[in-house]
Symmetry: C2
């Protein structure tokens, strides 16, 4: 691998490590556990599970890699707070969507070249990107590691 390829692959590897931790955590929860709040009055585990799928699914258009697979997750898990949408997808459906979204995303991540990682994402204008080239696709991915870790950290303090 060239140094560029190793740098990009290192970041992708960190994404995979956190993704595997999150998957291991959320896939081990049964229906009753998914209904638990992380702390009194705070989000339920099922909300964080769906929220991560919704945010990661939105990475396809943000990174210019295609359309959302599951825009229907936005209302229950992104644009509205927990407990305001009466019917949520089942545990099995969420697991299926998690696997589908991340399988497709990780295929893209494995194929992107260093030059492609350095291209602009779709949430920034050409003019802004010219001024701040660090706001590239890689920055979105690394920031999403932080986002995922943040919610996983919260989920891990939920009562067993």
């Amino acid at each position: 691998m060239t140094p560029e390829q190793t740098l990009a692959a290192t970041a992708v590897n960190a994404w995979r490590i956190y993704l595997e931790r999150a998957e291991k955590f959320f896939f081990a929860l049964d229906d009753e556990q998914l209904q638990k709040e992380i702390a009194p009055g705070k989000n339920r585990l099922i909300y964080l599970f769906g929220h991560l799928i919704a945010v990661h699914d939105a990475m396809f258009p943000v990174l210019g890699l295609g359309d959302r697979r599951h825009p229907e997750l936005d209302a229950p898990f992104l644009t509205n707070p927990d407990r305001t949408v009466p019917t949520l997808p089942s545990r099995v459906d969420l697991q299926r969507m998690w696997t589908e979204v991340h399988g497709a995303l990780n295929e893209h991540f494995a194929r992107l070249t260093p030059e492609e990682w350095l291209q602009k994402h779709t949430l920034i204008s050409d003019a802004d990107f010219a001024a701040t080239p660090l706001r590239n696709r890689l920055s979105v991915m690394v920031t999403r590691i932080g986002h995922m870790a943040s919610h996983l950290g919260q989920a891990q303090i939920a009562p067993k």
Copy 2:
């Protein structure tokens, strides 16, 4: 900047973004707020504050950038759980150590070349590194973004 430099700088920039968020959060807490638990029976905010300083201070030897500044933080914030060490540093001392450790760390981060980011860290053997070159200094830094985000996410759900 070369593509290598931009790739490394993008990751460093994500580190800075999360570090600034964490600093803004913890520096805004008064003594009473620092004593609050993130959730019933869980770590207090002061423990997470000191824990982040201790873990980031340990990055100097892990990354081969010099000695720890504050090894005395390990006992109260790293090797023992919260509430087992009777006397903790004051809020002002913690803020001072936070600024000192991150100031020095960020100076190193701004100077490291892409080739230096790709060198092995000190927790891995030469043989293991030869087999898994993604376990380099950059991987430590990106993984610490996840670690910091995880605890910041927990801290943010503490009762106000």
